[in-house]
Every structure is written in structure tokens, then in C-alpha cells.
């Protein structure tokens, strides 16, 4: 696996300092679906802050998030989450109480109201029953769905469904938050609000965000990792990536960070 931490000497702004034990610690994690190697020797350590996962379709971002969400058991390698081993059932349960996860595609009970949908997951996350209603209210307010709290899920637009999905992920104030393409369907105003929420969550939690929107990473993330063919081919902060694409024409993007992203991918593919 190739991990590029520093790209251009002298131009790297230090990532925000992380504190405490790593929220995520992966060692040589591999997983294959048939002949397709979805994860190919991932070594990764991440603490408090927001890490943006970029990469083309099929690069392994979703598979990596599903492994971190304890949904998928990798065929090889070790994972420690929040200082605990998910192979141990008791520790797995402790991890899951502190976990928030928004899958790329998530289902819902159409007749549930937004409040009931989020409340359902708050209960399944074993939150103290006395705290559930206030926590659900807070989550709804944080995603700006106050006026839809009593609306049935089947009546929501795509963007509102996504916001309800984000609300269920953050209802338990997770220490590890995993969001797979959370901004799909959000309007520009909601994306701006979401970035603020992301930064706020990143103050006290380890947050992984998979996205195709490079500008979201530039604005809301402390660090960025680029995946290609199941491996992490770049790790740094958004400024590193922007600096890589500082010269117009290289990489083929409209902005410096897009060009930087393109250059990293092109370089990884040559290898």
C-alpha cells in the first residue's frame, strides 16, 4: 500500500492535532468479493477530527466504511475501534453504542414519522429511555428538520431523507461517526449547514466522510485520504491536495484541489 503523507515539502499545513487513543486503527486490512480485491492492505490510524475519503467508484470507500461500522468482517487484518476489539462480543457492543453510521443507501419504514425513525435507532443504540426524546429532538434540530418532525418518512424529499439519516447517525452523540456520501441530494444551503455540523462533530469524535464532492472535503475536513483499487494512495490534509494542484492544467480539474485529486489518482494508476 502506498500512503503519501507529505506531497510538496514546505507547503504542508499541519493537520489539526489529534488527541487520545486513535478512534480507528487498521493494520493490513484486506477483503475480497470474489476476485475483486475491495480492500488491499489498508493501514490507517485516525483520531478526533474529520477525515474525508475520496476516490472513484469502486475504489473501496464503502467497503472500508462498512468494515469500520462492524457490518463487514474483513477477511484479513486487524481493526481496533475506539480502543476496543470488535472481534470480542462485549467490546463490539460497547463500540456500537458509540457508533453512528449512515450507509450510502439506507431504508426506512415509510409510515414512521421522522421523529419515530430517529427514535427507533436511539432505542436500538440502547440509549437510556429517559434521554431518548430530548436526544431525538436535538438531532432533528441539528439537521434542520424541525418543521418535518411529525411528517411521515414516505412524504420526504431525497434531501430530507438524507438529513433524517444523518440525524439517526448522530442521535447518540457518537464517538465514531461514519457517513457514506451524506451530501447526496442536499441543496446548497443544506450542504453549508451540514459542513458546519461536520466540523462540530469533528471537535469531539472521529468522523469519516466518504464523498465525491472535493469541495466538501476542502472546507469541512481536517484530513483527506484518497483510495484507489482498494488501497489508500494519499493521506494528508486538504491543503496538501490543493498545493499538488496549484499549477493550472495539471490533473484536469476546475479547482486546485480537484486538480490535486486528479494528479494523485493518475500517479497511483501509473504505479
Amino acid at each position: 500500500m502506498v500512503v503519501t503523507t507529505a506531497s510538496r515539502p514546505g507547503t504542508i499545513a499541519a493537520p489539526r492535532e489529534r488527541t487520545g487513543a486513535p478512534g480507528v486503527l487498521l493494520r493490513d486490512v484486506r477483503h475480497a468479493f470474489g476476485r475483486h480485491q475491495a480492500l488491499d492492505g489498508i493501514d490507517l490510524s485516525a483520531g478526533t477530527g474529520v477525515l474525508g475519503l475520496l476516490g472513484p467508484n469502486g475504489a473501496g470507500k464503502t467497503t472500508l466504511l462498512r468494515a469500520l461500522a462492524t457490518v463487514l468482517k474483513p477477511s484479513q487484518g486487524s481493526i481496533r475501534l475506539l480502543g476496543r476489539d470488535p472481534r470480542n462480543n462485549d467490546e463490539m457492543r460497547q463500540i456500537r453504542r458509540r457508533l453512528g453510521y449512515l450507509p450510502q443507501q439506507f431504508g426506512y419504514y415509510p409510515n414512521f414519522t421522522v421523529f419515530e425513525f430517529i427514535e427507533y435507532f436511539a432505542l436500538l443504540k440502547e440509549m437510556p429511555p429517559g434521554q431518548v426524546k430530548a436526544a431525538v429532538s436535538l438531532a432533528i434540530q441539528r439537521v434542520g428538520l424541525e418543521d418535518r418532525a411529525k411528517t411521515r418518512m414516505k412524504s420526504l424529499s431525497g434531501g430530507m431523507l438524507r438529513r433524517a439519516g444523518i440525524a439517526q447517525a448522530i442521535v447518540n452523540e457518537p464517538e465514531l461517526l461514519l457517513l457514506d456520501e451524506p451530501t447526496v441530494g442536499l441543496d446548497p444551503e443544506q450542504r453549508v449547514l451540514f459542513r458546519g455540523l461536520l466540523r462540530e462533530m469533528g471537535e469531539r469524535a472521529t468522523v469519516f466522510v466518504s464523498t465525491h464532492l472535493v469541495e466538501d472535503v476542502a472546507i469541512a475536513c481536517n484530513e483527506v485520504a484518497i483510495m484507489e483499487a482498494g488501497a489508500i494512495v494519499f493521506r494528508g490534509n486538504p491543503v496538501d491536495l490543493t498545493d499538488l494542484g496549484a499549477v493550472p492544467g495539471d490533473g484536469g480539474g476546475d479547482s486546485a484541489i480537484e486538480r490535486g485529486y486528479g494528479l494523485v489518482l493518475a500517479s497511483a494508476r501509473k504505479r
Binding site: T70, V71, K73, L124
Partner: protein
């Protein structure tokens, strides 16, 4: 001339008193909105919560896809229809229907393809296996009660009530195992229908009548097969629905 002696202002409460009156208005507001937006749990959920001592499991139970009212009404209608046909033709339709209906209902109780929240539910600390077993048990019991009621009202076939429970258990668990292994409720339900169909067709070829599949002699003769299907399906379901550690350990031993 009168002189006024200044009277020291006595606020009546000390600074400490004021601090003790501090109220977290945000918290109060969240409580108010929570009360306004939430919907009280229905009676069934409240009873389930008391019995299970878990509001999470109670909510997971009442959201079972194959326990929604329309599904139960449809199952009841099929059983009633079967009972009417059985009464008119003296054919044990209900025992023939019961395993198939229960098999499909159980396959659609939990899992990918049946439960829309399955992917997120798998990341919850509330045990997925516990939810699965709870839902399957209640779905099975509901179908067994419906089948028993339908059988009881048909004269002459009530004596086989207990005997058809065995194929119903086997076929239901087979459907469940199929759904869990393939992550598809449709495949699980189809598997249970297919196997039960083969058993019924075999009876038709052997005895020249479908009802031979649920005759006392056939049920007794096939009891070991049903028990084997039950045991294997249960084992596969428990193995596949766990959190993985034990599954890998077992795979290592094998």
C-alpha cells in the same frame, strides 16, 4: 426636617439562591419539543416493552414486516378460505397451507430484502440475533394460532392439528435459514415453498392425493426428516446470524 436613613437593599435571595434556580432552557426546550413531536407507543408495544424489559426490542418487534396488520389479515383470510374449502370438500387444506404461509412469513420477518433498516440495524448494540429470534418466534406463534383456529372449525381434521405443527416448524426454519444465508427474504420464502411443494407432490404421486402429505401416517413417517430439517436450519441460522467471532472460530475448527 426629617432625615432619611438609607435602608440597605435586601434582594431577598442570595447569589447562591439564584444559581440554584438556574434552568437549562435548551434542555427544557428539547424536552418540550420531544413531547410534542413524539407519538405515544401503542398498547401492543407497551405490553411487549414490559414483557421483554426492553423498549428497543419492543419497537423492533412491532416493526416486523410480516406482523403488520395487512399481512396478518391476508394470512387470516387465506386460512379462513382454506377452512371453508376444507369443510366443503373434506380435504385437509389448512394443514397443507399452514407450513407454506408460515414459511413465507418467517422468511420476511427479518433480514436484507425484508427489513428496510437492516443495514443500519446491523451496527446496533441490540443483538441482531435476538431481534431475529424474537420476531421469528412471534410470527410463528401468530401463524400457528391462525392455523389452529382455522383447523378447529373444520370438522374431522382437528385431530391432525398437532401433527402439522412439525412440518410447519421445519418449513419455517428452512425458509429462515435460506433468507439468512442468501440475504434475501424472497429466496428464503421461495425455498420453503419449493420444499413443501415437493413434499406435497411426492404424496400425490405416492398416494394419488395431495392430502396424503398431512395424513397421520405420512407425518409420522416423515417426522425424522422434519426434525433433521429443523435442526440443520436452526443451526445454520444461529451460526450465520451471529456477530462473526464465533462463526470464524467454528470455521477454523472445520
Amino acid at each position: 426636617m426629617t432625615t432619611c436613613t438609607p435602608i440597605p437593599f435586601d434582594p431577598g435571595v442570595t447569589e447562591e439562591d439564584m444559581h440554584s434556580l438556574d434552568v437549562d432552557l435548551d434542555h427544557v426546550w428539547l424536552g418540550v419539543t420531544g413531547a410534542l413531536w413524539s407519538t405515544p407507543a401503542n398498547r401492543i408495544e407497551r405490553i411487549a416493552g414490559s414483557l421483554l424489559r426492553s423498549p428497543a426490542l419492543a419497537r423492533a418487534l412491532v416493526t416486523t414486516p410480516s406482523l403488520i396488520l395487512s399481512w396478518i389479515l391476508a394470512s387470516a383470510a387465506v386460512f379462513v378460505l382454506g377452512a371453508i374449502v376444507a369443510g366443503a370438500t373434506a380435504t385437509p387444506i389448512v394443514p397443507l397451507l399452514a407450513p407454506a404461509i408460515a414459511g413465507v412469513a418467517v422468511a420476511f420477518a427479518y433480514g436484507a430484502g425484508a427489513d428496510p433498516t437492516y443495514e443500519i440495524s446491523r451496527t446496533m448494540p441490540t443483538s441482531a440475533r435476538m431481534i431475529l429470534l424474537l420476531r421469528v418466534s412471534v410470527v410463528f406463534v401468530t401463524n400457528a394460532i391462525l392455523g389452529s383456529l382455522a383447523t378447529a372449525i373444520v370438522p374431522g381434521v382437528a385431530d391432525v392439528t398437532v401433527l402439522w405443527l412439525l412440518p410447519m416448524v421445519a418449513i419455517s426454519l428452512l425458509g429462515l435459514a435460506g433468507a439468512v444465508v442468501t440475504h434475501s427474504a424472497t429466496i428464503g420464502g421461495s425455498a420453503s415453498l419449493a420444499v413443501w411443494g415437493v413434499i406435497v407432490l411426492a404424496a400425490q404421486f405416492r398416494a394419488d392425493h395431495f392430502s396424503a402429505a398431512v395424513s397421520q401416517s405420512a407425518l409420522q413417517a416423515l417426522a425424522p426428516v422434519y426434525l433433521l430439517i429443523t435442526a440443520l436450519s436452526l443451526g445454520v441460522t444461529l451460526w450465520m446470524s451471529g456477530d462473526g467471532a464465533k462463526r470464524r472460530e467454528l470455521a477454523g475448527w472445520l
